[in-house]
């Protein structure tokens, strides 16, 4: 968490060692499926049996449910903080664009869960910064990826900032900074608002309220 700042300062010195030690997969979405040396399953080109149970979900949210070979799925899967979480392979990833979408997804997945509890659990993903595998993803299940819901607005008298559930603190601060405003929030910009807040953060920059 801290010595990466040394990395930032001496990036050129470190590049060779990072290249030799890191797992590097070169992904080009325009051509072939990504090569991921960590993959434990091979992706299939058609929805598998385990994915067909999501037909009802796909019907309710057309264009917002992606499968393993889709770019949206890959982009979401590879945007977690830790390698462990990135290695989890969900059956599908839902990308709601607004609250109604989230409600539709929850309703569909809750009823799916209730009808077959052992095979259709789901996960919710915000910033994706929690390190351990399965915290915000789920092997063979559905992930609701909240990161499209990240709008930030402030009210007319600038006393309340409204933040979409999938936003990061950088979304919040880049908007508020221009107005010389702030909220009490995370100190690491790429961390999600949801996880930090709902986890009961004690470590935000506590700016005394006026």
């Amino acid at each position: 968490m801290f010595l990466r700042s040394l990395l930032k300062t001496w990036t050129l010195l470190l590049l060779p060692s990072l290249l030799s030690h890191a797992r590097v997969g070169f992904s080009n979405m325009a051509d072939s499926p990504p090569v991921n040396p960590n993959a434990t399953k091979s992706a299939t080109s058609t929805p598998s049996d385990s994915q067909s149970q999501y037909d009802a979900l796909i019907k309710v949210l057309p264009g917002k449910v992606s499968l393993p070979l889709d770019p949206t799925y890959q982009s979401s899967k590879t945007s977690y903080f830790s390698q462990q979480e990135e290695q989890v392979s969900p059956a599908c990833i839902v990308t709601p664009k607004n609250t109604n979408d989230v409600a539709a997804a929850v309703k569909a997945l809750a009823s799916l869960y209730e009808s077959s509890p052992s095979s259709s659990q789901f996960a919710v993903r915000g910033g994706g910064h929690t390190p351990w595998a399965g915290s915000a993803s789920i092997e063979g299940g559905a992930v609701i990826d909240m990161t499209s819901i990240r709008a930030v607005t402030v009210n007319a008298d600038q006393t309340v900032t409204s933040v979409g559930g999938g936003a990061t603190w950088s979304d919040v601060y880049s908007y508020l900074d221009l107005k010389n405003l702030a909220v009490s929030g995370g100190r690491a910009a790429q961390v999600g608002v949801a996880g930090l807040t709902l986890g009961g953060d004690f470590e935000s920059l506590k700016m005394p309220l006026c």
């Binding site: 040394l6 930032k8 997969g25 609250t99 929850v106 915290s135 559930g165 690491a188 910009a189 700016m207």
Partner: protein, 336 residues
């Protein structure tokens, strides 16, 4: 946090605030993903211009001075709540060890008295302290966690770019671990914890790509008091408990073949710290949820009363337990 807009298990969207669904409003602070999906946060907003902050790096030989300054800063009854401190000691494979302080004072006032005990520690390897924007200071802080490798990936993209293809991602992920504990602020015990951490370095120093650090942050009564005045929390923390110290062990490494060793040494450090805390009479059950490893139990760490309240809220707003057994990720209220 003034209000949450939250989607519940039955698909209904409700608001949770001081006057509406207030039990849910309190439960959400610390209750994590146990009640639904929050689709909007409404946060109290105030004026804030640029302020003073940054990161100072020192040789590891300053450790004892650092801990003394930390202890005094944390215990100060007239804690200046414009100030914030994040103190780390760490080891990076091939680079050695350092002490690092993140220092923040949310006014454009350089080097205020409350933080001088840290800025005056010598020698220093480097310092980024300056008056700057909230965005810039938090981007800098964010870059210190390995997810900040994204900024390095941009450089990699430039080096490996091939004109006839459009590289969209270079996947470099380290394996990551967070594990945490909390104890009462005590100078001799802080030194004990530091020594315990120091002893672990020889066990992991050969791990490929390792970065290994312990981070201390104060949890002062003033923070809890403020939270209480704004409606409270579900975490079982009370200002009457005195000053607490949150300790976080972070590990970042390259190869899954080292998982077992890293987990064992990290877990062992926390276990030993907890055991020693008992012996020194400074133990505390609080486990900060966002730093907890999968094997830890932050809900239990909130105490029986808080846990019971959270369970009651779950039964009221999610009677089928969709966010308990349908969403198994995170830290659950019933299944442990």
């Amino acid at each position: 946090m003034i209000n949450y807009e939250i989607v519940l298990a039955n698909g209904a969207t409700v608001e949770a605030n001081k006057t509406s669904n207030s039990d849910l409003w309190i439960a959400l602070r610390g209750g994590s993903n146990n009640f639904g999906i929050v689709t909007r946060f409404d946060l109290k907003t105030f004026e804030q211009g640029n302020f003073w902050g940054g990161i100072v790096y020192y040789p590891i030989t300053t450790a004892s001075q650092q801990l003394t300054a930390f202890y005094n800063f944390a215990k100060d009854p007239s804690y200046d709540d414009y100030s914030a401190l994040i103190q780390s000691f760490g080891y990076s494979g091939g680079q050695g060890s350092a002490a690092v302080n993140g220092l923040y004072y949310t006014k454009p006032q350089p080097n205020p008295p409350t933080l001088q005990p840290f800025t005056t520690i010598q020698p220093q390897l480097a310092s980024t302290m300056r008056v700057d924007s909230l965005l810039s200071l938090t981007m800098e802080r964010g870059a210190t966690s390995p997810n900040g490798l994204r900024s390095v990936r941009m450089i990699f993209c430039g080096l490996l770019y091939s004109p006839h293809k459009r590289p969209t991602a270079i996947l470099i992920f380290n394996r990551e671990l967070y594990v945490t504990t909390t104890f009462r602020n005590d100078l001799s015990f802080l030194n004990v914890v530091y020594e315990t951490f120091d002893d672990t370095i020889s066990k992991i120093e050969k791990v490929t790509g390792i970065t290994w650090a312990v981070t201390f942050q104060p949890i002062v009564p003033a923070i809890i008091t403020k939270s209480d005045s704004l409606g409270g929390n579900s975490q079982g923390l009370s200002p009457s408990e005195g000053v607490l110290v949150n300790a976080l062990l972070t590990a970042s490494w390259s190869l899954s073949s080292d998982d077992e060793l890293v987990n064992k040494v990290a877990g062992g450090f926390i276990e030993k710290t907890d055991m020693l805390a008992q012996e020194h009479g400074v133990s505390h059950s609080f486990i900060y949820l966002n730093y907890a490893n999968k094997t830890q139990n932050p809900i239990d760490g909130y105490g029986a009363i808080s846990k019971a309240k959270l369970q009651a809220v779950s039964k009221k707003y999610d009677p089928q337990g969709v966010f308990q057994r349908g969403v198994p990720g995170g830290f659950k209220l019933f299944t442990r």
